[in-house]
């Protein structure tokens, strides 16, 4: 796989292979700093970019073959994205509930308005919100945490098998971050949705993920069970990442300032 930017070829994602089993749901974290190709990888998985080389198979089928409208819709029903900044993901001039109804309309076989509302409400309940709270609201009327949960609810409407979450908590406050992360955990445990969790935050990755894959400049440097890799990294780059994580316990180590 690789990206083609202008005339110069640059491998944004280089020789990455991994697989998630459809039989049992898990949270798979992809970790790396900016420029390591995390987002390109997410786009490839979401089938908005075609790989230059290599294959991405979803339930046995090559995703690059899904090109027509019907195929795409079917694929999108099973694989849903969540983006980094909820304020950018939602149009500020549209009411948030419209996104939920539109998803219900396209992915549930064009149901009636009442059925759309029921589906939206059900999805919102799964993330700890309700339609009554969101109905008629614009994005600026909601907090970042509520909006990101609404984005997750929107992704859940089509009952996907896989959610690709690209840095879903990096724009969110530390205090609300854990509420979003907890939602992912319960989705995986209770609804059996697999989640690809893309992040540069090792602490939340440790907290929720089952397996991790650490990328540096488009290449995979280390992969394995999350607890094992993150508590005992082997590759020099993983060690560097691990050491860069700031911890509240640092306050005892080096008294900062004068």
């Amino acid at each position: 796989m690789g990206g083609l930017f202008g005339r110069a070829q640059f491998a944004a994602v280089d020789d990455v292979s991994f697989s998630l089993e459809s039989a049992h749901a898990e949270i798979f974290a992809i970790i790396g700093e900016s420029g390591s190709g995390k987002t390109t990888l997410a786009r490839l998985i979401l089938n908005t970019l075609a790989p230059s080389k290599g294959l991405i198979r979803f339930l046995g089928e090559d995703v690059s073959r899904f090109r027509g409208r019907r195929d795409r819709l079917q694929f999108m029903q099973k694989v849903q994205p969540i983006f980094q900044n909820p304020y950018e993901a939602f149009n500020p001039l549209k009411r948030v509930d419209r996104y939920l109804f539109a998803s219900a309309y396209y992915f549930m076989g064009r149901p009636s308005r009442n059925a759309q509302e029921a589906a939206a409400d059900e999805a919102l309940k799964k993330v700890g919100l309700s339609l009554a709270e969101l109905k008629g609201r614009f994005p600026h009327e909601l907090s970042g945490g509520q909006l990101q949960r609404a984005a997750i609810a929107r992704a859940l409407i089509s009952s996907p098998a896989l959610i690709v979450a690209d840095e879903p908590v990096s724009m969110i406050d530390a205090s609300l971050r854990m509420s979003i992360v907890n939602v992912f955990k319960s989705l995986c445990d209770e609804l059996k949705v697999s989640i690809i969790y893309i992040t540069h935050d090792l602490a939340t990755a440790y907290y929720i993920s089952d397996r991790v894959l650490i990328m540096q400049k488009g290449k995979v440097v280390e992969t394995g069970p999350a607890k094992q890799v993150l508590s005992n990294p082997r590759h020099p780059y993983s060690v560097l990442l691990r050491e860069s994580v700031l911890s509240p316990d640092d306050v005892d180590k080096a008294p900062p300032g004068a």
């Binding site: 700093e33 900016s34 907090s143 970042g144 509520q146 406050d173 530390a174 205090s175 609300l176 971050r177 854990m178 509420s179 992360v181 907890n182 540069h200 935050d201 090792l202 602490a203 939340t204 440790y206 907290y207 993150l230 508590s231 560097l240 990442l241 691990r242 860069s244 994580v245 700031l246 911890s247 509240p248 316990d249 640092d250 306050v251 005892d252 080096a254 900062p256 300032g257 004068a258």
Partner: protein, 366 residues
Amino acid sequence: MNLSIRAAGSFAWEAELMDTALTVCNLRAYYLTRYFGIEREVRAVDDISLAVKKKEIYGIAGESSCGKSTFIRTIAAAVRPPLRVLGGSIKYSFLDRDLYHLDDRALADIRWKRLSCILQGSMNVLNPVRRVRESFKDFAFPHMGLARPAFLDVVKQHLERLHLSPSVLSAFPHELSGGMRQRVAIALATVCRPEFIIADEPTTALDVVVQKDVLALIRETQREIGSSMIFVTHDLAVHANISNRLGIMYAGRLVEEAPTGVVLHNPMHPYTRHLVASLPQIGDLTPKKPLPGAPPNLADPPSGCRFHPRCPLAMEICRRAHPALTPLDSGRRVACYAVSPLVKPAVDSAAAPNRTQADKYAVFPR
């Protein structure tokens, strides 16, 4: 236009002046709007008193929309309508009077030379169509009083101290990486060796690896030029690495203040306790419970203690009167009735009247 600024407060400022770099007393700054006959008053900074010692890094933490940025704007004298300062005082050690008694020219003199800022989006600080050198000239040249070649020498030396090559001066902002841009922003803010630096989430947009370097650099520079600093971020792990003392803000008020180690190891206020408990850490798999409810709307804040609707320890009195930020042992101040019997209701300075409608909407006199 006649707005009285009272120097009354929980601590007299003359006594503190000796080793204090900044004293803020009972500061209140509201956003006041009146459109189509609808008046709105957003109480973003309400009755904040704090003192920053010389050569100290004072951290401020709190979730978004708790008034952190408004507070920073107010102490940086960057108040523009609809934000109004409605009372209180801000006193820097290098000024002989209150910050809001200076005229525009005096303000322009101290800005950047004695009081500078490191802001969050370094891309927005640097002009995208001008080379970095021009930004340095715009910001620092008028304050340095040096001839142009000497000025550039000073800038180059300063950049080298921040591990930047002098060639960045000829670069455009988009040619630099995020970490380099942030270092350029730090260089800009510190080149005049200011006495006071205000840092508003300077590392939030950066990667973990770069973040650690930039933090070390900020600390190093601050120590070298001996300035005081207010450092704002919502990330307590960052505070653990940089702040000497930490103030926690909730809904426009300071709820707890103590040395950083004390806050992180032994938080007292229920909100602080929640913040510290919800920090994810490698090696820690205990379930983190989210706080119930949503942050309050500052246009219509809850009565009494603003945290009471979400507080697990809320009592009857919490609904009625807001607790004063009360000094306890080990340099701690806390505003919660549940943690100590010493905490008493605050004398509500907002209730003090002599504020007419005309005053309220008048542009704040400088």
